[in-house]
């Protein structure tokens, strides 16, 4: 079996390397990928959405449906973990594991965590809101927010992290985030545009500023959804949510 696998791998490697011969050279500014659509994004993104970060414009406006899908993927993963794990221990009475999270009450980790969490969270908000101007955006910011919560979960334990972000909040946050994103799209649709066409939002601004705002709302939605879902996945995986319906 092993030999067969290695043979297959070598074969695949050879095929992939052979495929390389038809590809453009590394860094070629005139490669097809760098022309065509890419040109359009570079030339128009700033003027279309009043947002310097082309990648942000692309993911949250030009190809925002991908991002809605991506948020849905995260949400689906959250639902999947919930389906597979929550309530499983209680009902089936399988092998009950020791908690995955081991805590030693070290004063150093305790203090460092307390110091770091606000910083992380502020940085996370910065990442969300500054996504227009620098690398960043909803997913990254949401992941950072989730990270700050998880840090508290891991270091300070369930009891002390619950007041900050209760286990039962994960799913509602996910739902809310998705609803915000989808809501923007539907509002645009309702006001005569296509789905997710932000320049039809009823805010009374110029189209490029409307898109700017639309992108921001979408990013906030993504941040909510990602934060809620990632925390809930962690809770499901660590078994912490087992007692909460």
């Amino acid at each position: 079996m092993k030999q067969v696998s290695i043979f297959v791998l070598i074969l695949l490697g050879a095929v992939l390397l052979a495929a390389g011969n038809g590809l453009p050279l590394f860094g070629d500014p005139h490669a097809p990928a760098a022309k065509h659509v890419s040109d359009h994004y570079i030339e128009h993104a700033y003027h279309d959405a009043h947002t310097p970060n082309f990648v942000t414009v692309m993911i949250a406006d030009y190809r925002s449906f991908d991002t809605l899908g991506e948020t849905m993927v995260v949400f689906a993963a959250g639902m999947a973990c919930l389906l597979l794990l929550r309530g499983h221990v209680r009902r089936r009475g399988g092998v009950v594991l020791p908690p995955i999270v081991h805590r030693d009450d070290s004063i150093i980790t305790d203090l460092v965590t307390r110091a770091m969490v606000p910083v992380i969270q502020i940085f996370a908000l910065y990442v969300v809101f500054h996504g227009h101007y620098s690398p960043g955006g909803g997913f990254q910011g949401g992941a950072l927010l989730a990270g700050s919560v998880l840090l508290v979960r891991v270091v300070l334990g369930q009891d002390r992290s619950n007041p900050i972000f209760p286990v039962s909040w994960g799913t509602p946050f996910g739902v809310a985030g998705l609803a915000i994103f989808l809501g923007v799209g539907l509002v645009a649709l309702a006001f005569g545009g296509s789905g997710l066409q932000y320049d039809h939002l009823p805010l009374g601004l110029e189209p490029d500023m409307l898109r700017n705002w639309g992108i921001l709302i979408a990013e906030i939605g993504v941040a909510f959804a990602v934060m809620g879902t990632l925390v809930s996945i962690f809770d499901d995986l660590s078994g912490e949510s087992g007692e909460v319906a």
Binding site: A33, V55, A77, L84, L237
Partner: protein
């Protein structure tokens, strides 16, 4: 062939990374290692896209008033945007994979494939 290694060496590296990932998925017997292999494989594909965003002499795809709309001045933003999505997908898949592993571990007490299969069969027989 020479051209491939000189002009497209980053591509060759992604292929190597991809094969490493596949090796993990196919050959390793521990489910968790297989999952890690899958992650490596997906990372390789992400890098494959990113490699093709690069342009010699260009900078990050954030509008700069000094550069204006000059196309050659910015690298291609599309692969970055696409891969942001792909990363999320990869994370989500890993999450579900881990959830399944937790259930497998609870049911069979191990993550080694041969042992899991053996225990599956012995339970079916009894």
């Amino acid at each position: 062939m020479i051209d491939l290694f000189i002009g497209r060496w980053p591509y060759v590296l992604t292929v190597v990374l991809m094969l490493i990932g596949l090796y993990g998925m196919l050959v390793k017997e521990n489910f968790l290692k297989k999952l890690i292999g899958m992650n490596i494989f997906q990372s390789a594909i992400i890098l494959f896209f990113i490699v093709h965003a690069f342009k010699w002499g260009a900078t990050v795809p954030v509008y700069d008033h000094h550069l204006g709309d000059a196309v050659e001045a910015y690298i291609n933003p599309i692969p970055h945007g696409l891969m942001l999505t792909a990363i999320v997908v990869s994370v989500a898949t890993t999450g579900v994979g881990l959830a399944l592993l937790v259930r497998i571990y609870r049911a069979f007490g191990t993550l080694e494939e041969p042992q899991v299969l053996e225990r599956m069969q012995s339970r079916n027989r009894s």
